[in-house]
């Protein structure tokens, strides 16, 4: 069984606060036509046989199996945790996913279910998905979730401040959230579908990375536009440059709308050809998804046997 992701402890800020905002706002421009062309060209890579099986296995190991519904219950979480640990009960060679991602109230349930399995518990916090509640309440939520023992915390960028040009304030909020999260692994959701341009995506990426995010993440999954290949490429390029400038490796999480194994492979190709082999690990790449897992299982089965099994051969949890 593949080993689950290892979480690195919180560290001091990679960039001095006075530098951070300047670094974010003055980062290089992004040309939309060129970016989209490059993403489309990488999406055409033909991944077959062993290379495909390896990618599908990594897609599972990098998956944050997610349920973020108001209707989530203890029963639902128990079921999803079972699926996370053993995605295909008939096939022990299938690895567990990286983490289960859910709302704060259900963290204790997941912690109990996943204890000793190596699968992490990730919780959204900080006024997800808008991030516009009172700052004190948002930070308290992050502290509470961390205190409960969640391994990873997914928070949102304050788009209201960011789009309003109040970069320093948006940055300070992220730094405060970083401190509130303590030892937990912090993912900052940029909600790229609300940012309006790739220039903004790149600036927001830089701001979040400079504020100490362990991961930057595309989307909440709660609005119409979620992860896209060009947006992911834009963030990957920002992370590559940030790593070169500061020496700190930042992970990328794509979330929302990734339903097909083929899409997962396209994202992996983007990561592979932008950040290289060092990022081909759950420590540095995640896919947040709910329905993707079964399609990946189905494609693995097809690749091994040459035939597609019916959807009822894969469990719905």
């Amino acid at each position: 069984m593949a080993q689950a992701a290892q979480i690195e402890p919180s560290r001091p800020l990679p960039v001095a606060p006075a530098e951070a905002v300047r670094m974010a706002v003055r980062t290089t421009a992004v040309d939309a036509v060129g970016l989209e062309e490059r993403a489309a060209s990488l999406a055409k890579r033909s991944i077959k046989r062993d290379a495909k099986l390896w990618a599908l296995d990594l897609a599972i190991r990098s998956m944050d199996l997610t349920t973020l519904e108001g209707s989530d219950t203890v029963g639902k979480i128990v079921a999803i945790c079972a699926k996370a640990v053993r995605p295909n009960p008939l096939d022990p060679s299938i690895p567990p996913v990286a983490a289960v991602c859910l709302y704060p109230q259900l963290v204790p349930v997941a912690l109990e279910q996943l204890e000793g399995t190596g699968v992490n518990v990730a919780s959204v916090a900080g006024g997800f998905p808008s991030g516009l509640g009172p700052l004190g309440a948002r930070l308290q939520e992050i502290r509470d979730v961390a205190a409960t023992g969640a391994h990873e915390i997914d928070i949102v960028l304050n788009r209201s401040l960011f789009l309003g040009g109040r970069y320093a304030q948006a940055f300070e909020e992220l730094v405060a959230a970083r401190e509130a999260a303590g030892a937990a692994h912090l993912k900052v959701i940029l909600e790229t579908g609300e940012l309006g341009s790739y220039d903004r995506v790149r600036q927001a990426s830089m701001l979040a990375m400079a504020a100490g995010a362990d991961f930057i993440k595309t989307s909440t999954g709660k609005i119409g536009t979620n992860a896209t290949l060009p947006v992911a490429l834009c963030m990957l390029e920002a992370a590559r440059d940030f790593h070169r400038e500061t020496g700190r490796p930042i992970g990328i999480k794509v979330a929302g709308g990734v339903r097909a194994a083929k899409q997962a492979i396209q994202y992996l190709v983007l990561v592979h050809e932008t950040l290289g082999a060092d990022w081909m690990t759950p420590d540095r790449f995640r896919i947040g998804a709910s329905s993707l897992l079964n399609d990946v299982l189905m494609q693995i089965e097809k690749e091994r046997t040459g035939r597609y099994a019916g959807p009822d051969y894969f469990t719905i949890d």
């Binding site: 055409k44 077959k48 296995d57 592979h272 081909m280």
Partner: protein, 503 residues
């Protein structure tokens, strides 16, 4: 199954993800052992009796034999074209000529994969390029000029547009199908007939195109294809043609111009280039890197408008160079038919020798060379993607067209200096400008002496956009409305005698 191993520093030692081979099948291509010349609608044996082998440059394996047409064969082809011009094609209404062109365009789309595979086998270019660029654009050219065939009076208002006669067309080996389309489509649309001479090393797709033209039932002789080497091309230029259209080296272009000087023959030349790709400090850097890579490594750098000189504004030189070197490491060099190949084979041994010779001169002149570590196949003609830094305007690699995957990098300080360096070449085919500032793009475009100036992109082609050179890159334009004019006799229109009396 791969296990992860995380070291203390948090740098995971992970396995390299090797893409499995993904070759496009050759089964769709049906090669003949020996081809004929396409003259007067039939495939015929050459009167010269001579044949030459044509190979796959990625394996050096022989694909087929094609005729080496002699002067007698060329004269027969020109006579067939003359006959078709006078007896039929010239007098067909434009809308009827258009039908034939549309038919060819559709056939190219239907058989696109077959053409793309054959193009990559015979020329060495990656299948992703022949599949996604060469063939779609070739078909698009026929579609585009089919649309003009019945609208010539609107293209040139107030003037009568009449065809010239027989066009002798000599094309290069870097884009065999696309160049055939660039030449034939406007010639046929305007009512001319043609004799096409494909390049010595890449005759096969032109012969397949001849099959398509035969099946499209064009009047016999409207298009003729004569294969052969330089002598065949020389014979075609010297034959009884009314117009010569040549795409190829500046050296041969000059010879052609000397040969036909003083004759009635019209001439257009599309020759070499040494284009500057100019990156300003405010450019979108990652996209500029892609544009630079596309500019010089597209089709192994066998591109007349390749961005072979990179001019970088000094403040971003180091950042750009670092990104460029990292990007070069990810280029996949190898089997042209593999769908994941980025850089294919060099077209011929002769071209490889020329590239090697010029690269050696770069090293000798004191420029610093960088090549990524990548394995090259044992057989065939290959050259690693190559960068030179520390290049001066006086180095041979900054002046001569290398026509290979070799980029010379220079720096500049001000826009004026960029323009001066960019224009300081005998060529003038294309240029690229990378900046976020719209006004600077326009300022540069006004001053750059190049037929095409691309802004924040490179090597972008469209049938509706004219293409051609300044200075020793040639004259005449191909593509667009402008591409019709070289094939037309344009005279002021006489007012119709009844004008004004129709009420």
């Amino acid at each position: 199954m791969t296990e992860l191993d995380t070291t203390q520093e948090g740098t995971p030692a992970v396995p390299v993800w090797e893409y499995a081979d993904a070759p496009e099948s050759k089964d769709i291509v049906h090669l003949q052992d020996r081809y004929g010349l396409f003259i007067a609608g039939e495939f015929v044996e050459p009167k010269s009796g001579k044949y030459m082998a044509t190979i796959d440059p990625s394996t050096e394996g022989i694909l087929a034999e094609v005729p080496e047409a002699g002067p007698e064969d060329v004269d027969l082809a020109v006579a067939a074209a003359r006959g078709a011009f006078e007896s039929r094609w010239r007098d067909l209404p434009g809308r009827e000529r258009a039908k034939y062109l549309f038919r060819i365009a559709r056939a190219l789309q239907e058989r696109a994969r077959e053409f793309a595979v054959l193009e990559s086998m015979n020329g060495g270019k990656p299948i992703k390029e022949s599949r996604d660029i060469d063939l779609p654009l070739a078909a698009a050219h026929f579609f585009y000029y089919a649309g003009w065939a019945d609208k010539l009076e609107y293209a040139f208002p107030g003037r009568d547009a009449r065809p010239i006669g027989v066009a002798g067309q000599v094309i290069p080996w870097n884009f065999p199908m696309l160049m055939a389309a660039w030449k034939l489509a406007p010639a046929l649309a305007t009512g001319n007939t043609a004799v096409l001479k494909p390049a010595e090393t890449t005759p096969l797709t032109a012969l397949l195109l001849a099959e398509v033209i035969q099946a499209a039932e064009l009047p016999p002789g409207a298009v003729n294809v004569v294969t052969g080497a330089g002598e065949t091309g020389a014979a075609l230029v010297a034959a009884d043609v009314d117009k010569v259209a040549f795409t190829g080296s500046t050296e041969v272009g000059k010879q052609i111009r000397r040969t036909i000087a003083g004759s009635h023959k019209r001439l257009t030349l599309e020759l070499g280039g040494k284009a500057a790709n100019i990156v300003f400090e405010d450019a979108p850097l990652d996209q500029a890197v892609e544009g630079v890579v596309n500019g010089i490594f597209f089709n192994q750098g066998h591109v007349c408008c390749a961005g072979s000189r990179l001019l970088v504004q000094e403040p971003i030189f180091e950042a750009l160079l670092e990104k460029l070197k990292a990007r070069l490491q990810t280029l996949r060099v190898g089997n042209p038919l593999d769908k994941n190949t980025d850089i294919g084979a060099i077209n011929s041994r002769a071209q490889l020798t020329r590239i090697e010779e010029l690269v050696a001169s770069g090293v000798e002149d004191g420029a610093e060379m960088f090549q990524p570590a990548c394995d090259l196949p044992e057989r065939g003609f290959w050259f690693r993607p190559t960068l030179f830094t520390g290049v001066s305007q006086s180095h041979r690699i900054a002046r001569e067209e290398i026509f290979g995957p070799v980029l010379s990098i220079l720096t500049f300080r001000t826009p004026e200096e960029a323009v001066e360096k960019a224009n300081n070449t005998p060529y003038g085919l294309s240029a690229g400008v990378w900046t976020e500032k719209g006004s600077r793009i326009l300022w540069m475009a006004e001053r750059l002496k190049a037929g095409v100036v691309w802004a924040n992109t490179f090597n972008r082609f469209d049938p509706s956009s004219p293409f051609g050179g300044y200075k020793e890159s040639g004259f005449g334009r191909e593509g667009g409305l402008h591409g019709l004019a070289p094939y037309l006799e344009l005279t002021p229109r006489e007012p119709a005698p009844g004008n004004g009396r129709h009420g």
